[in-house]
Symmetry: C2
Subunit: 388 residues, 2 copies
C-alpha cells in the first residue's frame, strides 16, 4: 500500500427533514447563493420547497440555475458562472443528484477565474485561488459527489466528458434525506445502484493485494447494494432501503476504500465515451460495461481477486475451482444488474450502430496506465463489441 493522506471534512446531515439543520452552515459563509438543480423532480419530491424554506428561514437570498441535465454540460456551468458574477453570489447549493452537484462544483471553481471555465476543466483543477463553498441536498443515491472533490462535466460539441478535482470542491455540508429519493423511478434507482457498485469495483479491483481493511469495507458497499438495492427498486418508499443506499454511496468513492491503493479506473473511462457520444444514462452504461470488462480481464493474474469477490460478496462456495468461482461471480454481477431492470446490451440502450466504437476506443487508448489491467484500443473495442 502507498502512503496517503485522507480527510473527509463534509458534514453529513442524515434523515427526514434534516435540510433545515444545514441552514446555519450556509448562513455562516454566504448571504446570497446560487441554487442549482435539474428538472421538476425536486419540485415533486419536496426537496425544492424545503430548500427554499430553509434559505428563507436563515435570511439567505438566492438565484436559481435549473435545467441541469444528467452528464452536466459546460453550457450550464457558463450560465451558473454568469449568474454568480452578476448577482454577487457567495456559495452554491446543489439540490439533486450528481449532475447538479458536479455542475455546482464546476461553477464554484470558475466564478473567480478570468479565463474560460472549459480550460480549467481540461486542466482538471481550479485555475484560481478563490473557490466558492459548495453545499448539497442529495436526492438520488449514486454519484458520491456529495462527499468528494471531483466533478465530471461534458462538452458534447467536442465529445469530451472529463473531471475537475480539488479539495476545495468537496462540499462543506450535505443533506441526505432518504425521503427525497422516494420519487426516483425504478430505472434511475437501479442505475444509481450500478453507479455505486461500479465506484466500488474500480477501487476494489486493483494491483494492490494487501489492502485488507479497504477491501472488506468495499465488500460492505457491494453487499449493501445487492441486499437493499432490489428493495428500493421494488418499494420506492422503503425508508431503510433508501437510507442504506444513500448512506453507503459516498463512502465507496470518498477515499475510504481507495486511499493508498493503486486504482486507475477502467469501466468509467469506457462509459464516459458512451455518454459523451450517445448521452446514455451513466449508471446504465456502467452496468453494461462492467461484466464485459470483468470477462475480458479474467486471467491467471486476476482470477484470485475475482474468486475473493465471489466468495465474499456472492457467498460462492470457496472450495470450488477458482475460475469456477470467478466466472460465477461475474455471472452473478450481470444477473443482478438485469434483475433490477437494467438493460444489459448497448442496443437496448439505443446505441444501434458500432460506427463510433473505433473513435471512442482511440480516444481512451492511453487512459488506463494505472488500471488493474491495462487496456489498449483493441481491448476497449472488444469490450464494446461484447456489450453491443
Amino acid at each position: 500500500m502507498y502512503n496517503f493522506a485522507l480527510q473527509m471534512p463534509t458534514k453529513l446531515y442524515f434523515g427526514k427533514g434534516q435540510v433545515f439543520e444545514m441552514g446555519k452552515d450556509i448562513a455562516a459563509c454566504a448571504k446570497k447563493v446560487l441554487m442549482v438543480y435539474g428538472g421538476g423532480s425536486i419540485k415533486r419530491n419536496g426537496a425544492y420547497d424545503d430548500a427554499c424554506k430553509m434559505l428563507e428561514e436563515n435570511g439567505i437570498q438566492w438565484c436559481e440555475l435549473s435545467g441541469v441535465r444528467s452528464n452536466p454540460r459546460i453550457e450550464s456551468v457558463y450560465e451558473g458562472i454568469r449568474l454568480c458574477r452578476e448577482n454577487g453570489l457567495e456559495a452554491i447549493l446543489a439540490v439533486g443528484g450528481g449532475s447538479s452537484i458536479d455542475c455546482s462544483k464546476a461553477i464554484a471553481a470558475n466564478v473567480h477565474y478570468d479565463g474560460d471555465a472549459w480550460d480549467a476543466i481540461m486542466k482538471h483543477a481550479p485555475q484560481t485561488d478563490k473557490v466558492l463553498p459548495v453545499f448539497t441536498v442529495i436526492t438520488l443515491a449514486a454519484t458520491g459527489s456529495e462527499m468528494n472533490r471531483n466533478a465530471v462535466i461534458s462538452n458534447l460539441e467536442l465529445n469530451i466528458k472529463t473531471a475537475i478535482m480539488d479539495d476545495r470542491l468537496t462540499p462543506v455540508a450535505t443533506v441526505m434525506d432518504p425521503t427525497y429519493s422516494y420519487s426516483v423511478n425504478a430505472f434511475y434507482t437501479a442505475a444509481g445502484i450500478a453507479d455505486i457498485m461500479s465506484h466500488t469495483f474500480e477501487n476494489y479491483f486493483s494491483k494492490e493485494t494487501d489492502a485488507y481493511a479497504h477491501d472488506r469495507l468495499a465488500e460492505a458497499g457491494l453487499l449493501t447494494c445487492i441486499q437493499q438495492g432490489p428493495v428500493a427498486v421494488k418499494e420506492p418508499e422503503n425508508y431503510a432501503a433508501r437510507a442504506a443506499l444513500m448512506y453507503i454511496s459516498p463512502w465507496v468513492i470518498n477515499g475510504l476504500t481507495r486511499a493508498g491503493k493503486s486504482c486507475g479506473w477502467s469501466c468509467h473511462p469506457i462509459e464516459h465515451e458512451l455518454s459523451a457520444y450517445y448521452d446514455v444514462c451513466h449508471g446504465a452504461g456502467l452496468a453494461i460495461v462492467t461484466p464485459a470488462w470483468m470477462r475480458h480481464i479474467l486471467s491467471d493474474a486476476t482470477v484470485d481477486k475475482f474468486a475473493e469477490y465471489g466468495v465474499n460478496v456472492w457467498r460462492i462456495d470457496p472450495s470450488l475451482d477458482r475460475y469456477e468461482i470467478a466466472n460465477r461471480a461475474i455471472d452473478c454481477t450481470e444477473e443482478f444488474f438485469r434483475s433490477i431492470g437494467l438493460p444489459m446490451t448497448l442496443r437496448e440502450l439505443g446505441i444501434t450502430e458500432k460506427d463510433k466504437f473505433e473513435e471512442m476506443a482511440q480516444n481512451i487508448d492511453n487512459a488506463f496506465g494505472n488500471a488493474y489491467v491495462v487496456l489498449h484500443k483493441e481491448d476497449v473495442l472488444q469490450i464494446l463489441e461484447a456489450c453491443f
Copy 2:
C-alpha cells in the same frame, strides 16, 4: 434509524514515515506543544525520535509529559495542565496508544478551565470555550481515539473511570505509521484487536434492525480483525496486517457504523468497572466480558441478530437453526480471542476474589438504559460470575 449529523474532520496521514507530513499542520496552530506519551516503547519503536525530529524541523518547541499509564489517570491530566500553563503551550501532541491520546484530550479540555479538571470530566464535557488542538501519532491499533471526540480518564482513588466528550477534542490530524506498532508484543496486539472488535460489537448489537449499510461496514471491521489480527500477533512486522488493523480501528468508533443507531454500550461499562477496581488491561477485560455478555443476552429477541452475525462474519451455514448459528457464533468469538492468546477468565487476569463484584454491579446498575438489552445489577453480577 434516527436522524443524525456526522463529521470526521481528522486528517489521516497513513504510512511509513508519514509523521513528517504532519509537521506543517502543527506549525500552523502552535509554536510550543506538549508531547504526551507513556513508557519507553515509543523510544524503541522510533516514534519518539521521529516526532522530535519533525517538531525540530518545523521550529516547534515542546515540553514532555511521560509516564502516562494505560487507563490514564487524572494525576497525569493535572500534570499536563500544569506544564501547559507554566510554559504557554498551545497544542498537544500525543505519541502512543489510546491512553496517551485520551490523557492529551483531557488536558486540552482543561488548560483554560479555572476549575478542577476532574469536575469537567465528571460533567463529561469541557467547561471552557478554549480547548487546545490535539494531534496524535498512534502506535497501537485499538482505541480509535485518534479519530474521535472521546477521552476516558480514571480516578483510582474514587474507583471511577469515565469519559469527557466534545467535537473540539477530535484530533486535528493523526499519523498512522504501521511500523510504529511492530514493537507491540503479542498480548497487547491481541488486546488491541479485542478492543476494536468490542467497539464494533457495541454498535452492531443494537435495537436498530434497519441500519443495513452501517452493519455491513461493522462486519467489515470484524472481518478485518479476524483475518488480519492473528497475522499481526504471529508476525509482528507484517506491514499489511499492522496496516489493516491500524486503518480499521477508528472507523468502527468514529460514528461511521453507529450514527443514527440507538447504541448504549454494554461491555465497556462492565470492563470499565474491572479496570477501575483492578487496573486490568482494557482490551483483555473486554475479551473476557464479551462472550459472557453475548450468552447472557441471547434470547428470542436477540437470536436473529446473533444469527446474522454468525452468517456474515463467521460464515456459518445459514440453513442451520438460528439458535444453533447464534451459539456457534458466540463460541467462535470466544475461541478467536483465546486463539490470539488472550486470557478468557478473570482469574487468569489476576482477579482472584469476587468480593468487589457486588459493588461494581451496583455502580453501573443504571448505566444501560439505552443498551441493546438493558442490564440490571443482577445481570451484571451473573456476567461477572460467568467471567470469573
